[in-house]
């Protein structure tokens, strides 16, 4: 399983102390986690298939967009646990006798992809669509994390 931590996209100005903190964190995580967790996108080497995942954030929603070409809707599973969205499933290929694979670049088998969500979401209102090989999971933010205007009386 490859768990990719949420990272804010904006670049922070370089500072020497940050670098040290980062290095310390990395060293810590190196000892705490199995080795392959240190190479998030290289996860494919160990798990076979790590579909590309994009995450969007708006005022009301977190939206995950995952590239899953050639799946059946029934074979995709989404789950939400402890602020982590996990998309898993199995890609099957029906093979008939007498067939010979000339070239196999497409991954067949089980995959699992997890991502830590940046804010809390309302698990009961999560919805998903699958079209043209793209899975879109819409996760409405929990009420308490939505920005609110407070009137001064």
């Amino acid at each position: 399983m490859s768990l990719i931590r949420y990272q804010a996209p904006e670049l922070t100005p370089w500072s020497a102390s940050d670098r040290w903190n980062t290095l310390r964190d990395e060293l810590n995580s190196f000892f705490e986690l199995p080795l392959w967790s240190s190479f998030p996108r290289a996860g494919q080497l160990f798990t076979g298939w790590s579909p590309a995942l994009d995450l969007y954030q708006s005022t009301d929603n977190i939206v995950a967009v995952v590239e899953l070409p050639g799946m059946r809707k029934e074979d995709i599973e989404n789950s939400l646990h402890d602020g982590t969205l996990t998309i898993s499933g199995e890609r099957k290929r029906e093979s008939t006798d007498g067939e010979k694979a000339e070239r196999t670049e497409r991954y067949v088998g089980v995959f699992r992809r997890s991502i830590a969500l940046p804010t809390r979401v309302d698990a009961s209102k999560v919805s998903a669509t699958y079209r043209d090989g793209i899975l879109i999971v819409t996760l409405p933010k929990a009420e308490e994390v939505k920005p609110k205007q407070i009137q001064v009386s």
């Binding site: 996209p9 994009d54 070409p69 010979k100 670049e105 079209r131 090989g133």
Partner: protein, 123 residues
Amino acid sequence: MNTLTRENRDADCAQTEQFIVPPASVIEGSDGYTLEVEMPGVNKDGLDISIENNELTIIGRRSLPKIEGTLIHHESRSESFRRTFELDPSIGADKISARIEQGLVTLTLPKAEHVKPRKITVS
């Protein structure tokens, strides 16, 4: 046997549109080949398949849904897909058929009649 799968990577370098190479699988059956190319985000309208000089080119342009909000984690690519194959002479080019389902292009390339194994009865 020389097969369909010979890939032509430097077919033309003069194009301005940026392409990425999608993963593909080729399966040989008794009647022909099945070619599967992964093109997530591409539908029927964005698919362009052509054969020229015995070269099969598959181009897929994505039509992605607009998503509200800011992108906070990005792994996908936005370039179009393109893949070129040289066709084996055994393939009947006029009988090639294609379909796209959930971003997976499947091409059926039947072998021409004259190359199918045939039993000759001794009289």
